[in-house]
């Protein structure tokens, strides 16, 4: 039977419907009063703010399926931990259980409260006791971001030690929302999907276990989905309280710090802090207070703040810029980071260093495994490039977190240039962050934001800039061609006749030096042509002697004559105590492209030393495959591959010159 009750709001008298017996708390949709459902009369627990319009695909009544269980969204909490507000939607499953769907910075996560066991209670208490004091850096031995804790039998990495507040709530909820109270929490991660939160709002720590999901995983019923665009608040114009210059705030709901583009003063919403502001007031951002001036800097964004474009298929807008730098060997190495707001939700970064551009997309920090100077992610290997303490030098524009001059983080960058990708890992005592890096050509950035010619001259080689030469591909291609050449050689070896057209023992050679003996053969038939002819002169046992053959192959049909010469010699001896030998006793020469036909062979032989008065053998073989040509024609291919490999090495050497591990240095 379908549950449906109507309560009368004790504050405004309006009807408040309750659609599930699992909802213990409910807010009045007319006056935003939080009510405790009671069978007799609802209790007024005070008014709450209207939620800020964050632009979500969820709303009360949205239905979907998670892990095979249908769910319906009953209500939501809106929280803030200093990085802009986010929604946590309370969804009731068909079996009566509740799950929480969190949306933050473009990510969707589904949580479920873990059943507390004795072991888990003990582990949670131990974790909570290791927390650093509120607002202070972790002391030695205290829990810090990057640390490892055990829950049940699983080991988790601490990704954030944070504090925040429940700003407001709406709809029907299974537990009392601690609206207005500050919370402390520990975010944990394992791999690229598993997440957990230890919530320290109440006296006893609570554990929520969950996972990152894609919206598609939730199989939302499109007829119940919300239109995120309809809810979003547009840009708003305000005056800088310091210089009275006009400022355009692109995302007034989420902007936490704004650096004036005129006087560079850092501003914050008038009641900054873990804001407990009504959503509407927060959205207006009409009241800004001066937080602090920036010292001795002249911020300059390489792309104007507010510029919009479509990057890698996604509409984005530049809303802020940071100047960062790291000191190494007494020298500052600066770069600039531009915050891109995605229309689809969440943020990307554009990083510019020495005229090279990178697109940074957030990544779960626990999805990266580090080992020595290597990092692994999604089965790919990245090499450490640079690392150090990066500090914020200047800020410009608006940000969803409290950023200011002097903020520091340990940064390690890794590269896999062959993929055109890299990884960036950032660590503070309270938070881990990771992002993937992709090389962007300046022309792509230029086209995206309609920029004029490059303002920043490019120097050196970018960290993940693809090498124009890919040696693996080059040598693979060379290997394929060499294999084809070998196959051709085998084919010619099979197809070529290798026909012996003349083979005769002749002689003896002249008995005196400088005298020729001449032989004229009977007609020889060359049936294949044009083809090569190999001429071999041998004299078995020739030692300390020389035989010279001058031949002529005469085409009986045309009278064309091909002359040739070869020699067989073999000498050896001892000179200066070392034995030597030269010659193989065999002479070979080749005749090229001999047409088919009938031929006669004229052979004139001379001898010297033991080559005088010797018998010798002459053999002619037609159409013989020559392996020599295989090597000859491979050479230019190998030469091109070697030149390209050298080009690759020069490029890589220039890239790694700017790293912590330059080539040629240990």
């Amino acid at each position: 039977m379908r549950f449906n009750r109507t309560l009368r709001c004790p504050h405004c008298g309006a009807d408040v419907s309750v659609s599930t017996p699992g909802a213990v708390y409910v807010t009045c949709g007319h006056c935003n009063t939080l009510l405790l459902r009671d069978d007799v009369a609802p209790q007024d627990l005070g008014r709450v703010a209207q939620p800020a319009p964050l632009g979500s695909r969820f709303r009360r009544g949205t239905t979907g399926v998670y892990r095979g269980q249908p769910f319906v969204i009953r209500g939501r909490l809106q929280l803030d931990h200093g990085a802009g507000p986010w929604n946590e939607w309370a969804a009731e499953r068909e079996d009566g259980g509740w799950i929480w769907i969190a949306e933050a910075q473009g990510e969707t996560m589904v949580f479920e409260e873990a059943t507390p066991t004795e072991q888990l209670r003990g582990q949670l208490a131990a974790i909570a006791s290791g927390l650093p004091r509120e607002g202070q850096a972790p002391e030695k031995g205290a829990l810090r971001a990057g640390g490892v804790v055990t829950l049940g039998a699983d080991r988790w990495t601490v990704t954030e030690l944070g504090q925040g507040a429940v700003l407001t709530c709406e709809g029907e909820l299974p537990v009392r929302p601690p609206v207005g109270s500050k919370t402390r929490y520990i975010d944990l991660g394992r791999g690229d999907r598993a997440v957990a939160t230890v919530d320290l709002t109440r006296a006893e720590p609570e554990l929520l276990l969950g996972e990152r999901v894609q919206l598609a995983d939730l199989q939302l019923d499109p007829t119940t989905e919300a239109d995120p665009g309809a809810e979003q608040v547009g840009a708003t114009r305000v005056r800088c309280p310091q210089c009275d210059g006009e400022l355009v705030i692109q995302d007034p709901v989420r902007a936490v710090h704004v650096a004036c583009s005129h006087c560079h003063t850092v501003l914050a919403p008038a009641s900054d802090g873990v804001a407990q502001q009504p959503g509407a007031q927060r959205a207006a951002q009409s009241l800004l207070s001066v937080l602090r001036a920036q010292e001795a800097v002249s911020p300059r964004s390489p792309i104007p703040i507010g510029a919009e474009g479509v990057l890698r298929g996604e509409p984005v807008q530049v809303i802020g810029a940071l100047g960062k730098r790291v000191k190494a060997d007494g020298k500052w190495y600066p770069w600039r980071e531009l915050l891109l707001r995605r229309r689809e939700g969440g943020y990307w970064w554009l990083v510019e260093a020495k005229g090279h551009w990178l697109l940074a997309r957030p990544l779960p920090p626990t999805a990266v495994q580090k080992s020595g100077t290597l990092a692994h992610h999604a089965g790919q290997r990245f090499k450490h490039f640079t690392g150090g303490a990066a500090t914020v030098h200047w800020v410009l524009g608006e940000f969803y977190w409290r950023v200011q001059q002097g903020d520091a983080a340990e940064v390690d960058d890794y590269t896999a240039p062959e993929l055109g990708r890299g990884l960036s890992l950032e660590r503070t005592p309270h938070e881990l962050a990771a992002s993937t890096l992709e090389h962007l050509d300046h022309s792509e950035v230029q086209a995206t934001f309609g920029l004029p010619a490059p303002k920043v001259p490019r120097s050196g080689v970018g960290m993940v800039q693809p090498n124009p030469v890919r040696p693996r591909e080059v040598w693979s291609a060379v290997g394929v061609v060499l294999a084809l050449l070998v196959m051709l050689r085998i084919v010619f070896g099979v197809l070529h006749a290798k026909e012996v057209v003349y083979d005769s023992e002749l002689g003896p050679s002249p008995a005196k030096a400088n005298v020729e003996t001449v032989d004229l053969t009977e007609p020889i038939a060359l049936r294949r042509g044009p083809a090569n002819v190999r001429v071999e002169l041998t004299s078995p046992g020739l030692s300390q002697g020389w035989l010279g053959l001058s031949g002529a192959l005469v085409d009986e049909g045309t009278g064309e004559v091909l002359t040739f010469a070869t020699e067989a010699a073999r000498y050896s001896g001892v000179s200066g105590g070392e034995s030597w030998s030269e010659g193989s006793g065999r002479g070979v020469t080749w005749l090229g492209s001999v047409p088919a036909g009938d031929y006669r062979l004229r052979l004139a032989v001379q001898g010297f030393d033991s080559g005088l008065g010797r018998t010798y053998r002459v053999r002619l073989t037609s159409q013989v495959p020559r392996t020599l040509w295989l090597f000859v024609f491979s050479l230019p291919l190998l030469a091109v591959a070697v030149v390209l490999s050298i080009r690759w090495m020069i490029f890589e050497s220039r890239r790694w010159q700017d790293s912590d591990h330059p080539w040629g240095q240990s």
Partner: protein, 68 residues
Amino acid sequence: MKPLELNLARVALIAAALFALGGYALVEARGIAFGGRKAPARVTPEELRSSSTGSSTFIYWSHGLRGK
């Protein structure tokens, strides 16, 4: 990445590959070799039969020097 440079590298590699495969196939199929030299004149088998070292006929077709 400079596309032109990338293309040049590809073109050089493809050209070298075509040269290797085409050149090797051609010399094998045509039986090309660089030994042997075509004499500048023709002879009949009778002239050949009668030629001997130092004869004018032999010298003519083997060296192209008539009358020596």
